[in-house]
Amino acid sequence: MTRTPLRPLARILQARAKGENPDGIERENLRLRNDATRDRDRTRAQIRLLMLSAGFLAAFSTIGVQMGSLAASVPVEPRRAGAGVEVSATRADILDRGGRILATNMLTHALYAHPKDMIDPKGTAEKLVAIFPEMKAPDLQRRFSDGRNFMWLRRVLSPEQMQAVHDIGDPGLLFGPREMRLYPNGTLAAHVLGGAAFGGESVRSAEVIGTAGIELAMDARLRDPLQATTPLSLSIDLTVQATMEEILSAGMTMMNAKGAAGILMDVKSGEILALASYPTFDPNDRPNPVLAKDAEPGDNPLFNRAVQGLYELGSTFKIFAAAQGMDLGLVGPETLVDANAPMYWGKHKIKEFEGKNYGPMLSVSDIITKSSNVGTAHIALMIGGVRQQAFLRSLGLMDPSPIELAEAPKVKPLIPPKWPDIVTITASYGHGMSSSPINLAAAYATISNGGFKVSPTLLHSTDRPAQQRVLGEAASRAAVAMLRRVVTDGTASLGEVPGYAVAGKTGTADKPRRGGGYYDDKVINTFASVFPADNPAYVLIVTLDEPVETTGPKPRRTAGWTAVPVAAEIIRRTAPLLGLRPQVEPGPFDGIAVVKQ
């Protein structure tokens, strides 16, 4: 930029020649220069102001537009915040130990109505009655026209029914999706599974809640959304359960019994492979029976005899006294014990079955084989009430069973409040105190597995904590050998299954009358068995309610004639299914003649 001089020499010389003051030229030039500077600065400032206001305008209009759009738009939930998987509100499936389905869900639809949207309420009601016979046309017509906005019509629909309702074509009839609990095997394992019903209902969905059995006991686990896709695996084996139910129901008919229960349990883990109770029901359509006033609780098909039934289990208890006596070293299997019947204790008279007398002396092994009340009573008196009580408690016979069924915690065994010697005597042969078959199964498992406490469970699991020992191994082995003798030469001879050394003890208890005392002709028969005897693997309990065997000249009501053959058939059929091979038993040693020269 060329700078114009304030006093150009040519003009000053000219001005001097004319005699003018050259300072005027300098002022003139200075003014021109200042004007030019001012103009330039003003332009620059104007541009800057313009840019600044444009910037502000842009910023504020961005904010304004954003606020306007936020205010005007419909709020939308942000989709999929994070990587979490969308949970479905379904209930977990229940499988058996082999992964076969015991309970699952099925998508169906519920039917509801918006009567105000209906075009032809009267005709619609008539068409609905044609599809669903249980609905009443006048009732529906009244409710469709009384001004209500909403009403439920049906909880679940089959696809065919849904199509039929679609074909009515009335806009006031609407469908809501429903997850329905389905038990594909029908009555199989009904008492284990219990049942499920709808809880809170809405048009879009309904929660399914357990009403009984394991569905209620494990309700929180089954409804847990985190575990909804992980099925619950039970210890029940579908095939074994089906076989047991088949034989038990046939046996109940043959023995004219009004009820039956069966439990098959693994002696080491306490896992229950089959649990059945008759009469039974269909958990898909849980009945709500109305019972007569004088009916027993067992007459209700919903009643689980195996878990809820408290019975005086009779002679099956005798082995506990014998095992404890041997464990304490008071007696050995061949020790002779006073068994002279009848025995008098205070004002009480203790008799044998049908007034027999096995005495005067009997070995412990023979007491079990012949089922002598008096002999057992003498062993129990040697043990004493305090130790007997502690032992029965450690076997789990005096507490509600820990099994995962909703009914179990409420079933408290009936124990006399005081424990005088007469209770010690009667409890030793299973009278005077009542317990449930499931507790008996756990106690027999403890007796036969080497003496470890067992808590019955319905959940299939591979790792179980080490169990507490309550009985010595030698006593356990001797007890199983005694139980084996009951089958080979005692009261349970019909329980012999070729190839499977069955050991067990029969129990026959008279049914208590409602008003007190006992019935003469009504009994509860129990057979508690363990097999195979040389290496006990499973415990089977079979209980029949009021059985009577009528093939002989007079009706027989002892367990040896009723519960034992049923149990033997169950063992014969289920043992191969459990993977047990039939074994040829070594013969008794006294059968071999020793030859000596």
């Binding site: 989709r79 969308e86 699952t104 095997n185 029908g186 299954v497 059929r573 191969p576």
Partner: protein, 115 residues
């Protein structure tokens, strides 16, 4: 020089705006695809659950037992029983092979009556 820089940055802003616009729509499309896939998976899972339930229903022990009874002539199925289990020791060894004898020669001569 300076104006070149302005033009370049303006172009860069436009290019970025174009890219962001494209990405926005691509994301929305991906979300829509994902939703469609998920609802497809849900439908298939429901169908699978129905199939499993149906399979379990058709294989319920009662029905299989009835079918085995009805078709006994064709199938001959019986319940598993202890007698059907055996051990390898019960399997007999195969019989030793019989030699193939052709053109037998009689090595025992007939004695004629010397008298």
């Amino acid at each position: 020089m300076r104006s070149l820089l302005y033009i370049a940055s303006a172009l860069a802003v436009m290019a970025l705006a174009f890219w962001a616009y494209q990405e926005n729509y691509a994301t929305q499309q991906a979300l829509r695809d994902r939703d469609a896939l998920e609802s497809g998976i849900d439908v298939l899972q429901d169908a699978l659950a129905v199939q499993r339930a149906e399979w379990a229903y058709l294989n319920r022990p009662n029905r299989l037992r009835e079918l085995a009874t009805v078709n006994f002539d064709a199938l001959g199925l019986l319940p598993l029983e202890p007698g059907q289990l055996g051990s390898t020791a019960e399997v007999v060894y195969p019989a030793p092979p019989v030699l193939d004898v052709e053109n037998p020669v009689d090595v025992i001569g007939d004695q004629e009556d010397p008298l």
